[in-house]
């Protein structure tokens, strides 16, 4: 249960310009979704940082457990063959 004196937390994602992904920029407190958008506009786009904002209630985000990092991420460490680094890149390919 939320403390009624404390506004819920929202995570803020900003798209810097058309064609780019929304990137996580931070979080803020707001009483409702509309206020969260307004606060995000005032806090995170006052220097023209973006053209679009997403806000997500922080409690809606399901996160991996840092304590499980070993079992989640360690097994990938020795599988270098998953990186496509063994290919010769043709000279004609300019942007990769």
């Amino acid at each position: 249960m939320q403390d009624s004196r404390q506004w819920p937390l929202y995570e803020v994602f900003v798209r810097a310009r058309g064609g780019l992904d929304h990137k996580h920029v931070g979080s803020l407190h707001a009483a409702d979704a509309r206020m969260a958008i307004e606060h995000a506009r005032d806090l995170y786009t006052r220097r023209q940082e973006g053209v679009s904002i997403w806000v997500v209630p922080s409690q809606s985000i399901v996160a991996s457990d840092p304590a499980e990092a070993d079992s989640l991420f360690e097994p990938a460490r020795d599988k270098i063959y998953r990186h496509p680094t063994f290919y010769e890149i043709p000279d004609e390919v300019k942007t990769l």
């Binding site: 407190h29 009483a31 409702d32 206020m35 606060h39 005032d42």
Partner: protein, 257 residues
């Protein structure tokens, strides 16, 4: 620069000062919240609106100074005029009160500026039309912010409802002055420079009714007003606002950073 007083468009100077002073004094009032808002997020929200207001005031006061032709720039007009030479409607100078009272004042003025500037984009005065086109985008956001808060507070708890209703009752009488057209307003409308205030009022009134209805607030009755800030006759509050705003320039003339 010619000092032919007969050529100065005194009506236009007065009209532009009224608009600029409204933004300047309200911006100064909102600035008082910095560091005192109920939440850090609101601190920035109010400061952003204050900065928009100061930005509008800069454009308008600069323009007024140019038409006036006495060599006064925006800073001299803001920092070195006496109280009786400010022409903002006195709603703008009313104290912040609690957060709800600030929001009520903001909704009333935002809706006025929005209805005014939307129409002024078609002004025959190109400079005012350009200033209005810039301001209208800012003001549309201001009203979105302030009306959102008024609905939350009005349609909130018993205490928040009671507080904003009493703020509305307190400030409502000052709204009459915004729409009371005097000879300057009438001549500006005739010349196609400023929109007729009756039209601005019709738009404002409908907008305010819709917001108050959503906020479950009661619209107070209009009363004849006895204030003439637009003619330089102010409430006791403006002197304190100016004392704080002008202190630095008056104590250290021409100080710059």
């Amino acid at each position: 620069m010619s000092v032919d007083a007969g050529k100065v468009d005194a009506d236009l100077v007065r009209y532009v000062l009224r608009l600029g002073d409204l933004s300047l004094i309200l911006g100064q009032r909102l600035g008082e919240w910095v560091g005192h808002s109920p939440a850090l997020e609101e601190d920035l929200g109010l400061a952003n609106i204050a900065l928009d207001m100061i930005g509008q005031a800069r454009l308008l006061l600069s323009y007024a100074g140019e038409i006036e032709g006495r060599g006064r720039d925006e800073d001299q007009l803001a920092y070195l005029r006496e109280q009786g030479a400010f022409f903002n409607a006195i709603l703008a100078e009313q104290p912040n009160g609690d957060f709800g009272q600030t929001i009520v004042r903001q909704v009333l003025i935002d809706a006025f500026q929005l209805e005014l500037y939307e129409r002024m984009t078609a002004s025959r005065d190109e400079r005012l039309a350009a200033i209005a086109a810039k301001a209208v985008k800012e003001v549309r956001y201001h009203l979105r912010y302030s009306s959102g808060w008024l609905v939350r507070l009005g349609d909130g708890t018993d205490e928040s409802h009671a507080r904003v209703q009493s703020a509305l009752d307190l400030l409502w009488p000052y709204t009459v002055e915004l729409f009371a057209a005097d000879e300057v307003d009438l001549r500006m409308a005739e010349r196609g420079i400023g929109p007729p205030l009756a039209n601005v009022y019709a738009g404002w009134s409908a907008r305010i009714d819709a917001i108050l209805s959503e906020a479950t607030l009661r619209r107070p009755a209009d009363r004849p007003h006895a204030w003439h800030g637009k003619r330089g006759q102010h409430s006791e509050h403006l002197g304190y606002v100016l004392a704080e705003m002008q202190y630095l320039q008056r104590t250290y003339p021409d100080a710059r950073w």
